[in-house]
């Protein structure tokens, strides 16, 4: 349940970010939005990378099939905290989440 809510929150946050940069694309696929966000953010598009990571992870968690291994509590917790940083870039994640944030910071 938490995954669904977190994902929805993330999607909203991404829309906000796009809107702030005059590149809103309501109705577009998440992939498109994230691509737009990445290009819009330019070289310091770390936030786009984190959003991408969190969204992919949460989607997997939301849609996980019976034959797949379920995500663990910690994983979900990580993802949610990343969402937190996307929503509020000023939010500093706790040390336990720092690893996850660092993880999500890898991009081109």
């Amino acid at each position: 349940m938490a995954c669904w809510i977190a994902r929805a929150a993330l999607e909203a946050a991404v829309d906000n970010l796009l809107g702030a940069r005059q590149r809103s694309a309501p109705g577009a696929t998440m992939r498109s939005k994230l691509t737009v966000l990445q290009v819009a953010c330019g070289p310091d598009g770390e936030i786009a990378a984190r959003a991408h990571y969190a969204w992919t992870g949460l989607s997997v968690a939301c849609h996980h099939h019976a034959f797949e291994l379920a995500p663990t509590v910690t994983e979900v917790h990580h993802l949610i905290s990343i969402v937190g940083t996307v929503i509020d870039p000023g939010h500093h994640p706790s040390t336990a989440d720092k690893g996850a944030v660092e993880l999500a910071g890898y991009r081109a």
């Binding site: 796009l18 005059q22 590149r23 809103s24 694309a25 309501p26 109705g27 577009a28 696929t29 992939r31 498109s32 691509t35 737009v36 990445q38 290009v39 819009a40 330019g42 990378a49 991408h52 990571y53 992919t56 992870g57 291994l69 663990t72 910690t74 994983e75 690893g99 660092e102 993880l103 999500a104 890898y106 991009r107 081109a108």
Partner: protein
């Protein structure tokens, strides 16, 4: 953790500092340590007192093995007729830092590629090294391929240029080991001679840094004995010089200790022998030898006969051997003399003597009367006349009688003397003959006693004495001689038995003393050895610090949900008890060894955490690291961590990962990592195809396509976004092309990087890719696609895509331009 920072190689300098800082160590021992580090000759010189000076520091005479290769990247691997690959299959890689995943199902030929690469580089594969059966080494040819088997690899050395390695087998070769590998350099475009690959000298570095890590090998390393793990890690620390110094000292210690060992063994042996020996000298020596530090002076004395026992059988025998009987000649002479004296006395006449003396006295007085008072009548008889004639006659008479008397007293004196002399020669029987020292001598000594007894019991009377002694003398002499002879024989017999043992004991004494003289040197060497051992461990752990830190960091990325926290990595112990200690805490509680508390998957992750730092040390001449199926045993959560770790390493290293697991590419996509993905697919007849599936330019172009296809993206947003996206694609392609071109040509990576960073704007970057330098692109921009592609990427970035241009067209042109850049079209 980009790569582990390099460690100072100046080992001797470090040792000197330690020596100075250590308050307990003797100056002499310190110099000994430094001499041992310098070399064999220096150490021997100092030990023997030839070199008194402080060996020079800050420069080590011992050659630090420098690797001949510097910064090698992989360009391509081509495999023909080997294992699962039939027709030639080529894997092309970007010879620059970055991450490439070679994905393929099991049996696709992916492992054949990995093994082929390993074989051409190292001459063997780990998988087969440990499989002894011949079957494995015989089934290496591809069964579909009729032609010869060959593996070729192109390696690009930073700053030097490409090297082509080639491994071939004779058509008749049966075993996989029967191959020859050649190397050929290309310098400034010209190909050099084809030489044996050994000329590159990469073997030691490959062994030490192991840039190719296979799942098997990694797993085995942690499970193998502690000393193997120790060696695997210690190898990169560059402390061989210390190890050599320790070996030098140890060999000398063994050498020097040998005499003492031998002497102690001999002591025990000799002690047993001496204890079993009859001779009483042996007995004494045996008790002296029982001590662990025997008195060699005393022993030597007894063994050489210098210090004689004054009691016991041998002493008695010695006395008896030198027994003298009374001098027969002297006795004969003295007896003769006595007899003569007796005869002379008889002649001289005893009886008349006293009366004669009295009468002579009277006559003497009368003569004096006459002399004093002249002629007169004889006062005695009153008849005679004391006159001149009478005086003269009296004088003659007196003189004659005086002479006779003198002769008599002389004879008497002589008799007395002769008697004394002869009596004096009657020696008492010596107490040494009281008892025979041994049974066999008993009768002879008894006989002697008898003879002496007879000799001693002298009769009264001079002549009887003389006769007695003369008679018994010979007998006594004979008996004494007999005793002497038998005593001497007995002594010789004993000496013959004792002699050899005594000689050996004497020699042993010398050996013992010689060995003891070595003690001080041994102690000095032992002190030096101990200090070095302690500091060897200390130095190793100082140098392992960066690896330990890197491992901790790697673990923090890999561990994901493991509640095991990694502590420090330490090397401990010596010789057979050397081991690696990895401390760990589990949820905050100290757990002792990490290895014991980890699950299988965690152990695998730990191995990666330990050995990736080792493979990516600055000291390693190889700028690539190849991982064979690292994801196999990994928890899904850890795959992300692995990708994070690999991406970090990929900033400065070429990372190639072979994997059959979907999760790895999925994680790459998820984390938006700019990795290249290559897919390996097997077709019929072992025709293996290797295709580039994804790389940064491709991904950007695909994203652009998706953006276009998505009907719900507002036109304005699309036009604002597309130019930037295409620009990213074009510049990524340009970068790859530029890097590959320059590095293949032999430029140094640092120079290439700085050139790239100097370029600003897409035009300059494309120019670098196409021309290798920043210059005008006009002649290159001949085709429409190139012009339009560049146009979109440059001017449109700020102004958005012009309303006249269709997004799809823009993407089309960009794609073609990228193909041109990639293809090397001029």
């Amino acid at each position: 953790m980009a790569s582990v920072p390099s460690m100072t190689n100046d080992l001797i300098f470090w040792i000197e500092e330690r020596l100075n800082a250590d308050p307990d160590i003797d100056v002499d021992i310190g110099i000994l340590v430094l001499a041992a580090l310098e070399g064999d000759a220096d150490l021997d010189d100092y030990l023997q007192g030839r070199a008194a000076s402080y060996p020079s520091s800050a420069r080590s005479t011992e050659e630090e093995p420098t690797s001949p290769a510097t910064g090698a990247f992989l360009r391509s691997v081509q495999v023909t007729g080997f294992r699962g690959i039939g027709a030639p299959a080529t894997l092309t890689l970007e010879p620059a830092p970055g991450l490439t995943v070679v994905a393929g199902r099991n049996g696709s030929g992916k492992s054949s590629l990995a093994e082929g690469l390993e074989l051409v580089l190292t001459g063997g594969t780990y998988r087969w090294k440990n499989k002894k059966s011949a079957q494995w080494s015989e089934q290496w040819r591809n069964l579909h391929h009729g032609g010869p088997t060959e593996i070729a690899a192109e390696i690009i050395e930073d700053g030097s240029g490409p090297i082509r390695l080639r491994t071939v087998w004779e058509p008749t070769a049966n075993l996989v080991d029967e191959h020859t590998t050649t190397a050929q350099r290309t310098v400034n475009g010209t190909k050099g001679p084809v030489q044996d690959a050994a000329v590159l000298g990469w073997a030691p570095a490959l062994e030490t840094y192991r840039p190719m890590l296979s799942y098997d090998e990694l797993g085995r390393l942690l499970e193998s004995g502690p000393s193997e793990l120790y060696d695997a890690i210690a190898k990169v620390l560059g402390t061989e010089q210390l190890a050599h110094a320790l070996a030098r000292i140890k060999s000398r210690l063994t050498q020097l200790a040998a005499p003492q060992k031998a002497a102690t063994a001999d002591r025990k042996a000799l002690q047993t022998e001496a204890a079993a020996h009859d001779d009483e000298r042996a007995e004494t020596v045996a008790s002296l030898l029982r001590k662990t530090s025997p008195d060699t002076t005393a022993i030597r004395g007894i063994a050489t006969g210098v210090s004689l026992p004054d009691q016991g059988i041998v002493a008695s025998l010695r006395v008896l051997a030198h027994l003298e009987s009374p001098d027969a000649i002297a006795i004969d002479a003295a007896a003769a003399r006595l007899r003569a004296a007796v005869g002379a006395m008889a002649d001289a006449g005893e009886a008349e003597a006293a009366r004669q003396v009295a009468r002579l006295d009277l006559r003497r007085q009368a003569l004096r009367l006459h002399t004093d008072h002249g002629n007169q009548s004889c006062p005695v008889c009153s008849t005679g006349e004391l006159n001149e004639a009478w005086a003269a006659a009296s004088r003659d008479l007196i003189a004659r009688q005086d002479a006779e008397l003198r002769r008599l007293s002389d004879a008497r004196a002589e008799l007395e003397a002769a008697r004394q002399t002869l009596r004096g020669l009657v020696q008492r029987r010596p107490p040494s003959t009281d008892r025979a020292p041994s049974e066999e001598l008993d009768p002879i000594v008894a006989r002697l006693r008898q003879a002496w007894q007879a000799f001693e019991s002298v009769p009264e009377g001079d002549l009887a004495l003389a006769d007695h002694l003369e008679q018994h003398c010979a007998d006594l002499a004979a008996a004494t001689a007999a005793v002497r002879t038998s005593a001497t024989a007995a002594l010789n017999e004993r000496d013959d038995a004792w002699g050899p043992l005594a000689a050996r004991i004497s020699a042993w004494c010398q050996a013992w003393d010689d060995a003891a003289a070595l003690k001080p040197t041994i102690e000095r060497l032992a002190a030096a050895e101990k200090w070095l051992k302690d500091n060897d461990t200390r130095l190793k752990n100082e140098r392992i610090e960066p690896i330990s830190e890197a491992a901790k960091h790697a673990w923090s990325l890999l561990r994901q949900e493991s509640n095991v926290d990694l502590g420090a990595l330490r090397l401990e112990g010596q010789a057979t008890r050397r081991r690696v200690t990895i401390t760990a805490t589990v949820d905050g509680t100290q757990a002792g060894g990490a290895l014991q508390v980890m699950s299988q998957g965690e152990l695998h992750a730990l191995t990666l955490a330990l050995f990736l730092p080792r493979a990516t040390l600055d000291e390693s001449p190889f700028r690539f690291v190849v991982l064979d199926d690292p994801v196999q045993a990994m928890d899904p959560a850890k795959v992300d961590g692995l990708v994070a770790l690999l991406t970090k390493i990929a900033k400065t290293r070429q990372v190639v990962v072979f994997s059959h697991d979907d999760r790895l590419p999925a994680a790459l996509r998820r984390m938006n990592v700019s990795a290249r993905i290559v897919e390996v697919v097997r077709g019929p007849g072992s025709a293996v195809s290797i295709t580039r599936v994804e790389d940064p330019p491709t991904r950007y172009l695909n994203d652009a396509d998706a953006l276009c296809t998505d009907g719900n993206v507002p036109d304005e947003t699309l036009r604002r976004t597309l130019p930037g996206l295409l620009r990213l694609a074009i510049e990524a392609a340009a970068r790859d092309r530029f890097y590959a071109g320059r590095l293949s040509h032999g430029d140094a990576l640092v120079d290439v990087e700085s050139m790239w960073n100097k370029a600003h704007g897409t035009s300059q970057r494309v120019s670098l890719a196409v021309h290798g330098q920043i210059r005008s692109l006009d002649d290159w921009l001949r085709t429409e696609s190139r012009r339009k592609g560049l146009g979109v990427a440059t001017s449109a970035v700020h102004d958005n895509l012009r309303s006249g241009t269709k997004p799809k067209d823009a993407i089309y042109h960009a794609r073609r331009m990228i193909d041109d850049i990639r293809g090397g079209a001029r």
